[in-house]
């Protein structure tokens, strides 16, 4: 187990290193002007920039400096937001984004698993068909269109929720549901097929023959086995929710990290964009790591090689 964990951690680190190097090379891709154009840059910021990022040194030296900075957890300074370091921006935005993302993931998991079990138990029923419909809509419509339609429906036509902002529970409902619903539908379908698979196994028949209550069979015997496909979907779902949160944060004006990433792209603020890219990559890699380990814990049949 420990050898496996070490190997997996090494793998994660090497992926992070690849992304770092790629991003660094991209940032320095503009010939003669590292980190993009100087045009319109505040002269004061430019001076600090030159010193901070060692712009007078050759590229491999800068690479070393930046790598050590990142390893120390110091993401540097932004080109456009002069009163904040990138670390401060992250400290402000990350809790908001994390709340949004975790709630959406939680919503997707609980709602998806419950709905999946319901539709497996009543195959071909109303729940089953409506889940299918929601899942296909999630595949076929971009997040911002779904969010736009939701705003029109539940903010303007039916004035139930505020259209934008952050702070109260009511602010949370629309973004979390819009962000999580497609994944909830997909998780429901995974649970459903996993459940149907498990319910036809011999040990379920045995449990039934012993005279256990149907609910006990579902929760005690069938559930764990049917959740394996869901577990392996958490990785991709996290990736989707991370990118989706860029969209939702912008549409619902939520002061998280995503909006900073979107803005940094518009302002061509490459240091900020790179720091946020790395942060998102770290989150994603961590999530994949956890899922892999959990997978092993839940299903002992899985072999321990990376």
């Amino acid at each position: 187990m420990i050898a496996y964990l070490l190997r997996r951690a090494l793998w994660t680190l090497s992926v992070l290193w690849v992304v770092f190097t790629l991003s660094f090379l991209l940032m320095n891709a503009v010939p003669g002007r590292p980190f993009g154009g100087d045009r319109g840059m505040d002269p004061e910021i430019e001076k600090i920039f030159r010193a901070r990022y060692h712009l007078d040194e050759p590229i491999y030296v800068r690479y070393g400096y930046l790598l050590t900075d990142y390893l120390r957890g110091d993401f540097g300074i932004s080109k456009t937001l002069r009163d904040f370091s990138i670390n401060e921006i992250i400290a402000q935005g990350l809790p908001v984004s994390a709340t949004l993302g975790l709630l959406a993931l939680l919503f997707a998991l609980t709602f998806g698993i419950i709905a999946g079990i319901a539709s497996a138990v009543r195959r071909g029923g109303l729940v089953d068909h409506s889940l299918m419909a929601v899942a296909t809509v999630g595949i076929a419509l971009p997040e911002f269109v779904v969010a736009g339609l939701a705003i029109i429906m539940f903010v303007f036509i039916l004035p139930w929720f505020p259209s934008a902002g952050w702070g109260s529970l009511r602010h949370l409902v629309l973004p979390v549901v819009c962000l999580g619903l497609p994944y909830a539908a997909y998780i429901a379908r995974l649970t459903r097929s996993g459940m149907l698979d498990v319910l036809s196994q011999d040990y379920i028949r045995t449990a039934r023959a012993k005279g256990l209550a149907p609910s006990t069979i579902l929760t005690r015997h069938a559930l764990k086995g049917s959740l394996l496909p869901v577990l392996s979907y958490i990785g991709p779902a996290t990736a989707g929710i991370l990118t989706g949160s860029l969209v939702e944060e912008k549409i619902f004006a939520i002061p998280g990290l995503g909006i900073h990433l979107v803005e940094s792209v518009f302002q061509r603020d490459l240091t900020l964009a790179m720091a946020l890219t790395m942060l998102y990559t770290v989150i994603l890699c961590l999530m994949n790591f956890i899922v892999d380990v959990l997978y092993k814990v839940v299903d002992p049949r899985i072999k321990l090689d990376a």
Partner: protein, 380 residues
């Protein structure tokens, strides 16, 4: 058993006659027969065909000009009364077409423009044909108007052209990369194979969306742009093709490799090797045609993902550049224009419908094709 005993020769002759009556069926025909029985897939196919024809011959339809700005009717709601009006401005009563007006209103370059290519000529011909058929008639704003008073219906049609081309070309790029990579890796096998597949594993774990955002930010720099246009790359879409192609080939490579691993044990590969075919010939002439079914299926499932990605980039303002439009751009403009003051639902609903229905159809077609080409995969 009532027949008189037959000789062996007679028996074989009868068998032969019977065999000649049986018509063999090719794999493709068999799959087509199965696909025809799948109603959802056939509807999807028909719909995609219509959309494709509609987009290809856009200038022929009596639509308004997609770039005609009319501030007097900004955010005008859809209207159907009257359904058609005689109001085109780029064509006069004698049927002559004003080239300058056309290039401003449609973005079709005039014949004397040095940048004008075969596609502009094609569009001009269609416009001329339209003038001959429909005269000065054009459709009213059935889908409403956007913030500059441009007709949404026309913009949807012109956007369809770009959205579909983006999906197709980027899908094809990813297909070429994925198939060559996967087939090569699978056929060579051994250390090369495991090295190539490890590389794919690494790429798989990189969250490319963020890297692509960074990449396009860098490519948007004026200086880089100037450098690129000296290479003949004028447009962000061109870059998009390569970027997407470079990301979405991973699944294709894995699938193709798995298929090649089992195919290369077959006797026809051995036969090809015996008559002295080299590796490249075996891979691309003998193996790849046998992968066609799986390639088509993955292509129909990759295109929707690519189109969604384009929409996502358009939302970030990194997609198709104005004055060009795509469905993603239109849907984004619609979402941006939502305010409490006026609810311009048509600006969100119609682009969403166009994008959604097409992606729906592609998904249905892909699923149908998968079932038709490989019945064993069904219900898996």
């Amino acid at each position: 058993m009532t027949d008189a005993p037959v000789t062996a020769a007679e028996k074989y002759a009868r068998l032969l006659a019977e065999a000649q009556q049986v018509r063999g069926t090719s794999l493709g025909r068999d799959a087509w027969r199965r696909l025809k029985r799948n109603r959802a897939a056939m509807i999807a196919l028909g719909y995609l065909f219509l959309i494709g024809i509609g987009a290809l011959f856009t200038p022929l339809w009596p639509l308004q000009a997609p770039r005609m700005v009319r501030s007097d009717r900004a955010f005008a709601a859809p209207q159907f009364q009257p359904a058609f009006t005689q109001t085109t401005t780029w064509i006069d009563d004698s049927g002559a077409i004003d080239d300058d007006a056309v290039s401003a209103a449609f973005g079709i370059r005039a014949a004397d423009d040095p940048k004008s290519g075969w596609f502009d000529a094609f569009n001009r011909q269609l416009l001329r044909l339209r003038g001959a058929i429909f005269g000065r008639w054009e459709a009213a704003s059935w889908c409403g108007c956007d913030m500059l008073g441009r007709d949404l219906l026309a913009r949807l049609f012109w956007g369809a052209r770009i959205s579909l081309v983006v999906g197709l070309v980027a899908g094809l790029v990813s297909l070429v990369i994925g198939v060559s990579y996967g087939a090569t890796s699978g056929y060579l096998g051994g250390t090369v194979d495991s090295l190539m597949m490890r590389f794919v594993d690494v790429l798989y774990s990189i969250p490319f969306i963020f890297v692509v955002i960074l990449l396009i930010t860098v490519l948007d720099d004026p200086e880089v742009k100037a450098g690129l246009s000296s290479w003949g790359i004028e447009n962000r879409i061109t870059i998009f093709f390569f970027v997407v192609g470079a990301i979405y080939w991973l699944t294709m490579a894995r699938v193709v490799r798995g298929q090649v691993l089992s195919l290369k044990q077959e006797q026809f590969v051995e036969a090809a090797r015996t008559i002295g075919c080299n590796r490249r010939r075996i891979i691309f002439l003998h193996l790849v045609p046998n992968l066609l079914s799986i390639i088509i299926v993955y292509l129909t499932l990759t295109i929707p993902r690519v189109m969604l990605f384009e929409a996502f980039l358009s939302f970030l303002g990194l997609g198709v550049e104005a004055p060009d439009v795509s469905w993603g751009v239109l849907a984004n403009e619609g979402t941006q224009s939502i305010t409490a003051v006026h609810i311009d639902w048509w600006l969100v609903v119609y682009p969403g419908l166009a994008l959604g229905s097409t992606l729906f159809a592609l998904n249905f077609l892909g699923d149908g094709l998968r079932d038709a080409l490989d019945p064993r995969l069904k219900n898996r």
